[in-house]
């Protein structure tokens, strides 16, 4: 309720300001606009009036076209870059492992034993998680960090 009240307060204030600006400038501009067309300055030579189609072209098609062109140019790099990761929108790409084990090297008993984890060694990859969970974090000889974003 409070949030709604503040929002409505802000919108009414903005509306009030806009109303004052238009009330002050609108009538004078409206009153002067016929004079722009009728009264000419010295040396002014009015050209032919614009055809309706040309008016549409100049004041509608061209601005919209320019808007679209600039929008395209702005978004082109991200379109070229391909799909991009956005936090919270999920991730279904295939797993990738850089600097992973070379073929024939994984489940090497000697290597697993060297890390100081007896449980992980013999059974290979399958029962390694249970071995890792079994050891308390303080006793573990390997370190690192965990983080979330």
């Amino acid at each position: 309720v409070i949030a709604f009240a503040t929002v409505s307060l802000v919108t009414t204030r903005i509306a009030l300001r806009a109303g004052i600006v238009f009330a002050l400038t609108g009538p004078s501009v409206l009153a002067a606009s016929p004079a722009f067309a009728v009264i000419h300055d010295d040396g002014e030579q009015p050209g032919d009036s614009l055809a309706p189609l040309m008016t549409l072209l100049w004041f509608l098609v061209l601005p919209i076209g320019l808007f679209l062109l600039i929008a395209l140019l702005v978004s082109l790099p991200s379109i070229m870059g391909g799909p991009r990761y956005r936090p919270g929108l999920g991730w279904r790409a295939t797993p990738e492992w850089y600097g992973g084990p070379e073929p024939g090297q994984e489940s090497d008993a000697a290597g697993a034993a060297a890390t100081g984890r007896a449980g992980a060694g013999a059974g290979g990859a399958a029962d390694a998680p249970t071995g890792a969970q079994g050891e308390p974090s303080g006793e573990s000889s390997d370190g690192g960090a965990s983080a979330r974003w």
Partner: protein, 132 residues
């Protein structure tokens, strides 16, 4: 929402180059896994780390799960001497701040750069297993 390839060739190149640079600088082996995790991310990261085989003690595994938005860094017993947990936490902060902005590859590359810089150490002849 995303299907298929995780990274563009250019992003892939960026990650691979960052791994190579970090390995050259620090003498540690870096491995980056980007993919979904079933269950406990920490356990999964440790399992992947163990899969690195004989290199595992000297390796750093970085697991990034964009779906559950979790990042795990596992350092091996020897790697931990040069890349302590506090440095790992600092690097993870660098990475997650980029991830939160939607830049996965850039965050990974930046984190690897930080790790490579921090883990730089003089080469010792007989205790460093990794010759690369």
């Amino acid at each position: 929402v995303l299907a298929g390839e995780a990274f563009s060739p250019r992003q892939r190149d960026e990650i691979v180059r960052a791994i190579q640079l970090a390995q050259q600088q620090s003498g540690l082996r870096f491995s980056v896994y980007v993919g979904p995790v079933q269950g406990d991310p920490r356990a999964q990261a440790r399992r992947l780390h163990a899969e690195l085989g004989p290199d595992a003690p000297n390796s750093v595994l970085i697991l990034v799960d964009p779906a559950s938005r979790s990042l795990e860094i596992v350092t091996g017993t020897k790697a931990r001497r040069w890349l302590d947990d506090r440095t790992a936490a600092l690097g993870s902060l660098t990475m997650t701040s980029s991830f939160a902005a939607g830049d996965l590859a850039g965050g990974i590359a930046r984190g690897l750069k930080a790790f490579g810089d921090h883990a730089r150490h003089p080469k010792s002849l007989h205790t460093d297993d990794l010759s690369r």
